[in-house]
Amino acid sequence: MKRMKKIEVVIDTIHLEHLISLLENRGFTGYTVIKDVYGKGERGLMIGDEVTGVFQNSYLFTICEEQQLNDVIEDLRKMLKKYGGVCIVSDVDWLIH
């Protein structure tokens, strides 16, 4: 097993594509997405089942090296500042296979 970082982001579904391109541009090769989750934060309730499609969140996590985290963190901060959302980082052990 290898010590890695897990980055978790909740962001508007409408900005998910931006987030993914940001990660791919920084050389992230893997991620997992759960679409259409809902929640509440500074910008109020994201109802999730709107016909408008505007009040929906997505949840993404990616497992990466500490170095990759450091590379991307400032851009992530900027993105969240502009669009809202939440990002947390934690330590995990990755099962090498």
């Binding site: 508007d12 409408i14 016909v51 499609g53 505007v54 502009k82």
Partner: protein, 324 residues
């Protein structure tokens, strides 16, 4: 306005289901039409009106009258967001003014459908190509909004606006695309094609609308709790501007000799506000604006107003101005 029209409009299963949805939220019944069914019905409705409009167009053909009406539609789609913007700037910051102006400059397909449904139920008719007018009116307000933003906002981080991407997103958003596509398919395949799709896209149209409006009632009423964020000025705007837009539309229509049915439908288009395509575009390109404001206005105020009071009112107006 004759009370008769109002009652005729409201005592219709399609409209009643809308109010059933609204009431459901106040009684907290927990009723919901689970996603993605409403999205699917919304797609179905767009395909239906596209196919039907295309079929009607294939029967009537294209002539000068058609192009005249389409030109006027385009004009209103450009003018409405501009004057709306300046009215809004009296009280609202620039970002929200842009987003709201774009919202009201564009159209709501379901309001259009409800109007058509009303027209049929009272035995009046309209031209099939009005679907093309609707399609044409969906996107320009987005562009106008962003031009206004670029002119009036200080050039901080809006500088890096990707124009090409923006045009693509304005004109190739899902609603515009499926409407245009279905319109073309309906036009190309004509009578023979319509026979193939009629059992689903023709026969089931009205009851499906009932279904969809049940959901819209739920969604709209849920938004009502956000009304305090909207404020009195915008609440008034959400009711008055549709009436103004509709009146202007009918006056123009009358001056260029549109038929009463077409003038009415045109008025409904101008009076309606977008709660799908435009909010999605604004969310992407004007993240500073608050969607709880512009979506709530379009969805929880203007939409219910239009389908209950507005539609009979605009019809009555069209009747007055263009003569019974």
């Amino acid at each position: 306005m004759s009370l008769d029209l109002l009652i005729q409009n409201v005592l219709n299963p399609v409209i009643l289901f809308f109010f059933l949805g609204v009431l459901s939220i106040f009684l907290r019944t927990g009723l919901e039409i689970p996603q993605p069914i409403p999205k699917f019905i919304s797609l179905y409705l767009l395909m239906s009106i596209g196919l039907h409009g295309g079929y009607e167009l294939s029967k009537s053909g294209l002539d000068f009258y058609v192009f005249k009406v389409l030109g006027l539609a385009l004009l209103m789609a450009i003018v409405v967001p501009i004057y709306s913007f300046f009215i809004l700037r009296l009280k609202v910051d620039i970002y929200n003014a842009v987003a709201i102006a774009a919202t009201y400059g564009s159209i709501s397909a379901v309001t259009f459908i409800t109007a058509v449904n009303f027209l049929q139920s009272i035995g009046d008719s309209y031209s099939g190509f009005m679907v093309a007018a609707m399609t044409l009116m969906e996107s320009p307000a987005i562009i106008i909004g962003l031009i206004l933003l670029n002119i009036f906002a200080k050039k901080s981080d809006n500088g890096n606006l990707d124009v090409k991407e923006l045009l693509r997103e304005s004109f190739f958003n899902p609603s515009v695309y499926i409407l245009t596509g279905s319109l073309l398919i309906g036009f190309i395949t004509g009578e023979k094609g319509w026979k193939v799709v009629d059992p689903l896209f023709g026969q089931l149209f009205k009851p499906m609308l009932a279904f969809f409006l049940l959901d819209m009632g739920i969604v709209a009423a849920r938004r009502l709790s956000e009304l305090k964020k909207v404020g009195m000025f915008l609440v008034a705007f959400a009711i008055i501007i549709p009436i103004i837009n509709a009146t202007i539309a009918i006056l123009i229509a009358s001056s260029v000799g549109m038929t009463k049915g077409d003038a009415f439908v045109f008025a409904v288009l101008c009076a309606s506000a977008s709660y799908i395509a435009v909010p999605a575009a604004m969310r992407l390109s004007v993240p500073e604006a608050n969607p709880s404001i512009y979506v709530t206005m379009a969805l929880a105020l203007t939409f219910p107003f239009n389908i209950s009071v507005g539609i009979p009112l605009y019809y009555w107006l069209a009747n007055k101005i263009l003569g019974g």
